[in-house]
């Protein structure tokens, strides 16, 4: 006898593993970000210092990846929450689609914030 709901055959292994890897990456990035922002709280937040920092391509790469990894980790987490509820396939697929569009849109928007310099 087989169970009526075998679930989708797609393995969740990559998603599960990337969630952990991106999590660790985010921890490192977050610590850096926090030190930077709070070590010199008055000057660190000013436009001048931000402008200066953004002239360095390495910082640009850092923030670009921060945006991508952050959005991925966040939305993948939300997707995990969504899948914890039994729902019709069309509904879960709609939610997934909306999340992907939202993710891409905000990634582009975030990129613009960085690439404007």
């Amino acid at each position: 006898m087989s169970y009526k709901h075998l679930g989708s055959r797609n393995s969740g292994a990559p998603g599960w593993l990337f969630q952990r890897i991106t999590g660790i990456v985010l921890i490192v990035a977050m610590v850096g970000h926090y030190i930077l922002m709070h070590y010199t709280p008055t000057s660190g937040h000013s436009f001048a210092s931000t402008f200066e920092r953004m002239q360095n391509p390495l910082w640009k790469v850092f923030y670009l990846s921060f945006v991508v990894v952050g959005i991925y980790h966040g939305l993948n987490g939300v997707w995990g929450v969504v899948r914890d509820f039994k729902m019709k396939r069309w509904l879960s697929m709609t939610i997934l689609g909306a999340m992907i569009i939202l993710g891409i849109a905000f990634a582009v928007f975030g990129f613009m914030n960085v690439l404007v310099f």
């Binding site: 087989s2 969740g12 292994a13 990559p14 914890d84």
Partner: protein
């Protein structure tokens, strides 16, 4: 000493919704909850219904919810519960047939999904050898009595009843990690789905609920690691 039992009653053949009934009982601190249920049934309310058989925690019939925690009625003494008021419910997440008796059809259907049997061909004339260390790997997993306390305690299962649940995962582990099994992949494949092992969020409710003190989450995390190795 006197203890109040508040028991959820429901007869699926006639009641629309469950209701609660209270019983006051003089008990000894060393009485089992099951003994108390028996006394209520025999002396007060003949229609109180629950499952039981071995009465010492090996058959797995009498998993119930006591004060919000899943446990075996025969394995908990009055003195283990520090309260004078004992709330008794059927284990959650499964349809109720009558009072404390739940429908376990789905639970066992999920168990069957993972191919819960040794897959091995061409047996040798004598026993298959297995080292003490290999046997130790499945030592905890073979203790499972299929009482359902774990699966019923899992928030992932409450949200998504299709989730296979910790008991089925443990069974998959028991065979996938048995050195004698020749097709671990077959057991693993069954749980490597969206309703399978990936719905486990290491909440540890199953570990708290297990009357045989099996650390199910540890076993599930071994399965996840094996799955990642297999996929990538």
């Amino acid at each position: 000493m006197q203890v109040t039992f508040s028991i959820q009653r429901y007869d699926s053949s006639k009641d629309k919704k469950p209701y609660r009934q209270e019983f006051k009982l003089d008990v000894e601190p060393t009485d089992r909850i099951l003994d108390c249920l028996d006394r209520i049934k025999w002396d007060f309310e003949g229609s109180l219904t629950y499952r039981r058989s071995c009465s010492h925690g090996i058959c797995g019939s009498d998993a119930i919810n006591i004060n919000g925690k899943n446990m075996l009625a025969c394995q908990v003494l009055i003195q283990d519960i520090k309260k004078k008021r004992i709330k008794i419910d059927p284990i959650p997440g499964m349809p109720i047939i009558k009072d404390l008796v739940v429908d376990t059809t789905d639970f066992f259907a999920k168990y069957e999904v993972v191919k819960p049997y040794l897959i091995a061909k061409n047996p040798p004339p004598k026993e298959r050898f297995q080292s003490v260390a290999d046997r130790a790997l499945i030592d905890e997993a073979v203790n499972c009595i299929l009482c359902g306390a774990c699966t019923s305690s899992c928030p992932s299962m409450w949200g998504n009843p299709n989730y296979l649940g910790p008991a089925a995962m443990l069974k998959a582990y028991r065979f996938a990690f048995d050195s004698r099994d020749e097709a671990p992949a077959e057991h693993l494949e069954a749980i490597d789905t969206s309703d399978g092992v990936w719905r486990c969020h290491t909440i540890f409710n199953c570990v708290e609920a297990c009357p045989k003190e099996i650390n199910l989450t540890w076993h599930i995390s071994q399965l996840k690691k094996k799955m990642v190795e297999r996929e990538l």
